[in-house]
């Protein structure tokens, strides 16, 4: 009897651990990363060098993604006549697929450094290139610098990642980068920038430094910390008019009402708005091409 019970217990344990370990669907090593596609309990994961980049529900490819990617929809609040958007960083294409679904007329261009990532997104994450879904294989900053296109919004979601954490590539954090970005935005242009970290906790020094750096280039910068993960989406605008939570809520309500934006959670995402700058942000350095110690997590300034 006891033997049977323990056998059953072991069987359960084996099943659980099997479910937890997930099933590797695909694995390859590109120039930049060890890329893995893993299916686990109905969710597909994309990981680079052991850190998860993208989540996607296998039942519905528009679900299961990281919550922070939803904050990118907020760019509409400042630019309701958006016709095109540039995204830096593809990964599993959560933002690209979501934007294509909700705004079918929008022209989406993506700059991705690693050609293998594009293949993986196409094969395993329902990402499809097309007339309104264009991919450039290039470094984000180099592309921006050379292009003559102007964009209504630039969405930046690129980082180096590994087992020890994720870092935004240093040349995409500097004042010079934001100046290039600003010069490629239309009059009402907006940049949405994902930083891994929190306000006041994990990597808060990086968040504060990027905030200060963006503030030195863009007239207004807004903070949207994600609720479910350690991400802060910073939004910088060319417009110098200062928005408040109330004005953003009204704008969002109108956008939903006149069906410019069909993304249903827009109002909830507006509510994450934090109207005060990161604590002690003045003490952090403006990051420049000449000085951007983002890999050392800006440790000298933690004291």
């Amino acid at each position: 009897m006891r033997f049977k019970k323990s056998l059953l217990f072991l069987l359960c344990l084996a099943l659980i651990s099997e479910a937890y370990s997930g099933q590797i669907v695909f694995e390859t090593t590109s120039r930049y990363h060890n890329i893995r596609v893993v299916d686990e309990m109905g969710v597909r994961f994309l990981s680079f060098d052991g850190s998860t980049e993208t989540r996607m529900s296998l039942a519905d490819s528009l679900k299961g993604h990281f919550e922070y990617t939803e904050y990118f929809h907020l760019v509409w609040l400042w630019n309701d006549k958006l016709t095109n958007v540039l995204m830096i960083g593809l990964g599993g294409g959560s933002a690209q697929r979501s934007f294509e679904h909700y705004y079918p007329k929008l022209k989406i261009e993506t700059v991705e450094l690693d050609p293998v990532v594009v293949n993986v997104a196409e094969r395993f994450f329902y990402f499809k290139k097309g007339e309104n879904q264009i991919v450039h294989i290039e470094d984000g900053r180099q592309y921006l610098r050379r292009t003559t296109n102007l964009y209504g919004a630039i969405i930046m979601d690129a980082y180096h990642s590994g087992r020890y954490g994720s870092f935004v590539p240093y040349h995409l954090t500097t004042k010079e980068f934001f100046e290039i970005a600003l010069s490629k935005l239309t009059t009402n242009g907006v940049i949405a920038y994902n930083v891994i970290g929190t306000l006041g906790g994990f990597q808060s020094d990086v968040v504060a430094s990027v905030y200060k750096t963006m503030k030195s280039v863009f007239p207004q910068v807004y903070l949207f910390p994600a609720r479910e993960s350690m991400n802060v989406v910073l939004i910088g605008t060319r417009s110098s008019i200062k928005a408040t939570r109330e004005s953003l809520r009204i704008k969002a309500t109108n956008l939903l009402k006149n069906k410019t934006v069909s993304f249903p959670l827009l109002l909830q995402r507006v509510d994450a708005f934090v109207p005060v700058p990161p604590a002690g942000w003045e003490q952090y350095p403006i990051l420049t091409d000449d000085y951007a110690p983002v890999d050392g997590l800006l440790r000298p300034f933690e004291r």
Binding site: R141, T147, Y170, D290, Y291, D295
Partner: protein
């Protein structure tokens, strides 16, 4: 004994300067060429070319013009060039990047070779002259021909040790506490000091 100390010192800091230029140089190139894999490949490849050529040419010159003061002059020149890297390299790299027709993707071959060209134009000469230090130092010590194995081992180990310190100091410390332009300026000054050091009497008298 003193001469061992002096030649070891010069070798150590030449190795140190080469590796700081290599590591910080990769960071420096990333702003224009992107943080692509090819920037690292270029930087490592170009420094290896500089080392190979510098060892060979340095050895040849050490036999033809066995005056350490000549090496000193070359070091002062490349020290000044290194000091000026932040100022003079911008238009060079700008030209390499902007020569491609705008709005068209850069051809795959140039995505690979542009950083090689950029790295070579900026870093090849300083690293090449710094690599010439080792054979020169071996030449100075080689009066003692029966110990030539030990001597060359000592000099090569000294410059390699300097290189090791240079790599870790650059990546773990300098990049976090100094501006990139200041690092080039400090390394430039260090190389000028090495060049002046080569004019020291004790190094010269030991030449014959």
């Amino acid at each position: 004994m003193k001469i061992y100390l002096l030649t070891g010192f010069v070798s150590f800091f030449s190795g140190f300067a080469i590796m700081v230029l290599e590591i910080i140089g990769a960071r420096f190139l990333a702003r224009d060429f992107g943080s692509t894999f090819y920037v690292w490949i270029s930087q490592i490849g170009v420094v290896m070319i500089a080392l190979g050529a510098g060892y060979y040419i340095g050895g040849w010159i050490a036999d033809k013009i066995p005056r350490v003061s000549f090496l000193g002059v070359l070091l002062v020149i490349v020290g000044v060039i290194t000091f000026l890297i932040p100022n003079i390299s911008t238009p060079i790299i700008e030209y390499i990047v902007q020569r491609h027709p705008i709005d068209k993707p850069i051809p795959e071959i140039w995505q690979r070779l542009d950083p090689v060209i950029g790295s070579a134009l900026v870093f090849l000469l300083p690293c090449l002259v710094l690599a010439m230090v080792s054979p020169f130092m071996i030449k100075i010590l080689s009066r003692d021909i029966k110990n030539i194995g030990k001597i060359s081992g000592f000099i090569i180990a000294g410059s390699t040790l300097g290189g090791i310190v240079g790599v870790f100091a650059s990546g773990f410390l300098l990049i976090d506490i100094m501006r990139i332009s200041s690092i080039f300026k400090v390394v430039g000054m260090l190389v000028v000091v090495l060049g002046l050091f080569c004019q020291l009497k004790c190094l010269k008298t030991s030449e014959k």
